[in-house]
Each structure stands twice: as structure tokens, then as C-alpha cells.
């Protein structure tokens, strides 16, 4: 039986060394795959704050992922076309600078999550799952039919956005950016879970009556958690837009929401490194099975089913043979 911490450290080291080695061996595509893992894991870390810590089963996190992506895409497209974003009451120019794009993505995701959360958190259980789905569908259909930014066709970013001192078009440089964000999000999530806020949030998931009885309002806790969660997922969306140099409504589709949840469950709900394990496994499978058969999603479905039915602790749970506690 392995302890969880060494497994986590091994996972992170693996994520770090594989692309570095691949880059040395001139296999840039493996670096791209690792970047995708880091970004998806970051999105899932975001969702995990709501879902794992707060028990808020959001089936609409694709909305935030997509909003972050569109934030990056819209700013970049304005910068590419030299058209200001708005001219009244003051002029706002587009930008290709990640240091500006990220705060915008965080802010946009935060505002959207605050609004959606404020309404959705009035419900609970299945209703919460469904109303978050409904809001995500609303954003999806809006993006599909709104012509200004490409609608269904999506919005290309011809040149990856830039970061001072890095050549983001080099796969390894961009991987470094994504990796640092993944680490930052994960560390933040760990700190959060041990903080006053995290204690109250997890308490509310386990026993909401008890939390009320000690004078803590679960609605405000959850709203803040949902907002933070949406912000992190939106940031991951902005990175994903840059990875693909492209944004489209498919980032907002309900399947995307489902996939982010799948990362978490594959890795193990509520585990800090579950999102990484889940995203890595998912992408590994996509490429391993995708090469074997056109019908790889059938195999993915079978595997997911087996994990849900029989390996409740997720991948990390299987490796460490231990159910998760708190």
C-alpha cells in the first residue's frame, strides 16, 4: 500500500519531466499533450473546489471554461485586427498580453459564476445540477448564435498570446506557463481546504444543519466557493484557448462540463491531485485508444463505468488503496 503524498509528488514530477524529456528528444507533440493535461487539470481543480470540497455538483462549468476562453479570444482578435474593444465612454484596446488577458478571464469567470451561483444556489440536489446545466446551455446557445465573434465557427487566435521573457509559441515555454498555473491552482486549493473558509465549506457539505447551528451562513460560503471555482476554471479556459490558438462554442458544450467532471471522478473526488491524475489518464486514453480504434469512446465509457461502480476512490484511490476522508 502506497501513501498518498508520494504518489502525488510522483505524478507532478512525471508531468514535469515527461515534456522536458520529450522536448530534448524532439517530440514536441508530447509536450503539447502534457500542456493539455496541465490545463485540463487546472480546470478540474477549479471545479473540484465547488464539487469536491463544497459538494456542489455543477454540471455547467463548461460555461466558465468557455467564458475564459472567449475572454482570451476576444481580446486577442481585437488586438490582431487593431480594432478597439469599445470606444465609448472610453477606449479599450484589445491585447495579446497574457498578463492582461488572465485577470480579464478571472474577472469575467468570477462575475459569471457569481451571477449563476447566486441564482442556482437557491436550489439544491438534482435541481442544482440541472439549473447549472441550463445556464451553461444558455451561454452555449448565445455563443453559437451571436455573430460578432464567429458564432458556431469559433474565433481563431493566429499567434499565441505573449508573456514577457517567453516565446509562447515554443511548446516547452507554453507548457511552463500552464504547469505553473496548475501548481498555483493546486496549492491554492490545498491552502483553501485547510483554511477557515475551507473548514466551513467542507463542514457545510457534510452537515449543513450543523454549520447553520454554529452561526455560519452556508449560502454565502457556497457562493464564494462557486465563484472561486468558476474563476479558476475560466483561467484554464483562457490557457486552453491559447493552446489551441482557437476558441469555439464546443468549449461551452454540456459534454465539456461532463468531461471536466470525469477528470475529477477518474482521479478521485475531493483529492487535491485527483484532477491531475484524472486529466492525465483521460488524455492518455484518448491517444492510446484513439489510435487503436475509431470506437475508443466506447472503451472510455466502459472504463468510466467501471471506475464509478467499483473504484470509488478514483485512480489515486486505487493506487493507494484507500478511501478518501475529509
Amino acid at each position: 500500500m502506497l501513501r498518498e503524498t508520494p504518489v502525488n509528488i510522483a505524478l507532478v514530477l512525471l508531468l514535469l519531466t515527461v515534456p522536458v524529456a520529450a522536448s530534448a528528444m524532439d517530440e514536441p507533440f508530447i509536450v503539447t499533450l502534457a500542456t493539455k493535461v496541465a490545463i485540463f487539470a487546472t480546470a478540474a481543480v477549479g471545479l473540484n473546489i465547488a464539487l469536491g470540497h463544497g459538494g456542489l455538483v455543477s454540471f455547467g462549468h463548461a460555461a466558465f471554461f468557455g467564458i475564459g476562453g472567449y475572454g482570451a479570444g476576444i481580446l486577442a482578435s481585437h488586438a490582431q485586427n487593431y480594432e478597439p474593444l469599445m470606444t465609448w465612454p472610453f477606449t479599450v484596446e484589445g491585447t495579446q498580453q497574457m498578463l492582461i488577458i488572465w485577470p480579464v478571464a478571472l474577472l469575467a469567470g468570477g462575475i459569471a459564476a457569481l451571477a449563476i451561483g447566486a441564482l442556482s444556489l437557491r436550489t439544491s440536489g438534482v435541481y442544482f445540477i440541472m439549473i447549472t446545466l441550463a445556464f451553461a446551455q444558455m451561454v452555449f446557445y448565445f455563443a453559437v448564435s451571436w455573430p460578432a465573434y464567429g458564432g458556431e465557427d469559433g474565433l481563431p487566435i493566429y499567434v499565441r498570446n505573449s508573456f514577457p521573457g517567453l516565446n509562447t509559441l515554443r511548446p516547452l515555454d507554453f507548457f511552463a506557463v500552464a504547469f505553473v498555473w496548475f501548481l498555483a491552482a493546486t496549492l491554492f486549493s490545498i491552502l483553501l481546504s485547510r483554511s477557515r473558509f475551507g473548514l466551513a465549506l467542507q463542514g457545510a457539505r457534510q452537515n449543513v444543519e450543523r454549520v447553520r447551528a454554529v452561526g455560519i451562513d452556508p449560502y454565502r460560503l457556497r457562493l464564494v466557493a462557486f465563484t472561486i471555482s468558476g474563476m479558476i476554471t475560466a483561467l484554464a479556459g483562457a490557457l486552453y484557448a491559447d493552446l489551441n490558438r482557437f476558441v469555439s462554442p464546443s468549449m461551452l458544450s454540456w459534454q465539456t462540463s461532463g468531461e471536466i467532471m470525469v477528470f475529477i471522478i477518474l482521479g478521485g473526488v475531493g483529492r487535491h491531485f485527483g484532477p491531475l491524475a484524472g486529466a492525465a489518464l483521460f488524455i492518455l486514453l484518448e491517444y492510446a485508444l484513439g489510435g487503436v480504434s475509431e470506437y475508443w469512446k466506447f472503451l472510455l465509457g466502459v472504463l468510466l463505468l467501471l471506475v464509478v461502480l467499483f473504484a470509488h476512490g478514483g485512480l489515486i484511490g486505487v493506487v493507494t488503496r484507500r478511501r478518501h476522508h475529509g
Binding site: 517530440e27 514536441p28 507533440f29 508530447i30 503539447t32 499533450l33 493539455k36 446557445y141 453559437v144 448564435s145 455573430p147 464567429g150 458564432g151 458556431e152 465557427d153 469559433g154 481563431p156 493566429y158 511548446p171 486552453y240 489551441n244 490558438r245 482557437f246 469555439s248 464546443s250 468549449m251 484513439g290 475509431e294 470506437y295 469512446k297
Partner: protein, 379 residues
Amino acid sequence: MNLITKSLAALAVLGMTSAAFAEPVKVGMITTLSGGGASLGIDARDGFMLAIKQSGNKDVDVVIEDDQRKPDVAVQIADKMIQSDKVDILTGIIWSNLAMAVVPAAVAQGKFYLSVNAAPSQLAGKGCNAHYFSVSYQNDNLHEAAGAYATDAGYKNTFILAPNYPAGKDSLTGFKRFYKGELAGEVYTQLGQTDYAAEIAQIRASGADSVFFFLPGGMGIAFMKQYAQSGVDIPLIGPAFSFDQGILQAVGDAALGVKNTANWSKDIDNAANKAFVEGFQAEYDRLPSIYASYGYDTANLMLSALAKASPSDADAFQKALEAADFNSVRGKFSFASNHHPIQDIYVREVVKEGDILTNKIVGTAMTDRSNAYVDDCKM
């Protein structure tokens, strides 16, 4: 050049190709092989591979990957093909939005892209590129032809409908470019919509004398079946996509008699087309679709250029492609200055041959049609 000499030339080209290459060429095909739009990608792939097989050329190595009709997946496959498989030429994308995601970055990295289907206006006008060629058409072409046909047929009051997404809007714009009559109505439906009762009711009430619709894939099947049941008998016009071999059988008799515009039909009478249609049926045991014909032409164009130059010599290879020195199953074929075809566009009618629904050419809608964006392209 008459038909006989042309087909002799074709044989000569086929005969010499295998000798002409020094080193193998890697081609990456990104296309939709799973999910809703898979039938289109499968046909394009099969047409492409048939041409390679018929050529007997062993030096072309085609890597095929499924984009699942998702732009982000397509981009990643393109990255993989360029970075890892080190392909020289990319092809295969069916959908315009995927093409917009992949093509600009791929050509910016110096790769050639040959389109088997999608040809959005952005890539024909300001965004054109020396390394990008559309073998199929420019997206507006078949819609323009439908507009021209509606005018020729004397329709004065057409109801037009398309899904509410960029290709849908381009389609209606294209139709209106050559249509001279009035519009009885202009409706945008939801993308992926499956029930058209509300729109059919509007058509019935509009007093239109004809209906133009662009509803690709399952949307078109649903629309036509429902239209046939509605008791509305205003004539339908559409681009070939909704009347393609792959979906006609699913539509059934509801499609009989409908006029559609296409730049290919299996009854175009030339040797290349005969070889294609027969070869395709022999190889895959089904009738080829229009996407298969695009795939077939794309491969033959590529082979003809490879016979003259290697993609590593980009300028020479580009010149060889521009020459379009191959026998298109469409007959006449040349490239406009923005690397989109100049070709005839026909009017077809859906007919029944035995038990099988298929198309028959009944006229020509446009002759030597290029596209509306040539002047915007500064190459």
C-alpha cells in the same frame, strides 16, 4: 482537349507517377470519422484513398486521424501531425469552423493544405494563402448557383432558410447574390434543430413560390421528411449537401423531384468520373457521394503536383498545384488566383434508379464560376 486525348493523358500521368518520386511524402488527413457528421468524413477519406490506390503510388504515406468534429481536437491533431509525424501536406477537414481553427496556423508553419470540402470565405478573401488550395469549391458557390437557378426558373418569391451560424448566413448571402426575385421570408433555425414544424407553417403561410434551404446532415433529412408530410407543395431548391448519396436513402421518397445544385454528379460523362464511380463501387460496395468525389479529386491533384515537384521545394510545388494538371471527375477544372476552383455548377434532380435514390443532372446553373472573393485576395 477532347475527352479521348484527355483520358490518354490521364493514363500517361498515372503511369509515370510512381517513377517520379525520390522520397516518400507524408500526408496528414484530419477528418470526421465518429459522431454525427462521420458519414461525410468517411466518404472523403474513402475517395481520397481510392485515388491513391488506383495510382499505384507507394511513396505517399497517409496518416488519418478522427477530429470528432471538434475544433479543439482538430487543432491538436494538426499539431501532432506537424510536430510529431512531420507531414508535408494536410487535408481532410469537412467543416468550416474546423478549417478556420486549423488552416491558418498550418499554412503559417509552411505546410500545404488541400481542402476536400470546407472553404470559408475568410480563407478565400483577405485570409488567402499561397499554401492553401480548395479543391471542392468556395463555400458560397453552390448557394450562388441555387440563386442563379431560381432566377432562371422564373421564381419571383422565394422563402429562404438556414441554420443560425456563420456558414448558414453565408449560404443565404450567397443565394441572394444571384437571385433577382423577392424574398417571401428569411428564417434562421437553430443549429442541430430536428423539428421544423414551426418553419414549415411559416412557409405555408408566406405565399412563396419556391423554397431555398441549406440544412446539412440530419437537419436536412428531418426537414424534408416533415415537409413531405405537411401537405405544402411549394418546390424546394437546395445545395447538394442535403441530397447527397449518403443521406438520400434516409430521406426516402420525400426527396424525389427536388432540384439541387452541385459541381459534381455521378452521371457527369467523362472517363475520370467513370473510373471513379466504378472504382468506388467496386472497392466499397456503395455509390460515391459528392464528398467522395472531392476527396478523389484532391488526391489526384496532389499526385499530379507530386509528379512534378516535391513539397520541400515549396514554390515549385505550389506552381504544380496551381497548374491543376489532373483529370477532375468534374470535367473542366482550373484554379482562380485565390486558389479556389473555376468550374461549372449543375442543377440536379433527385430520381429513383431501381430502388435507389440518386441524382441526375438536368441543367447547368453557372458556367466557369469562380468566386466573389478573388479581388480581396492579395497573394
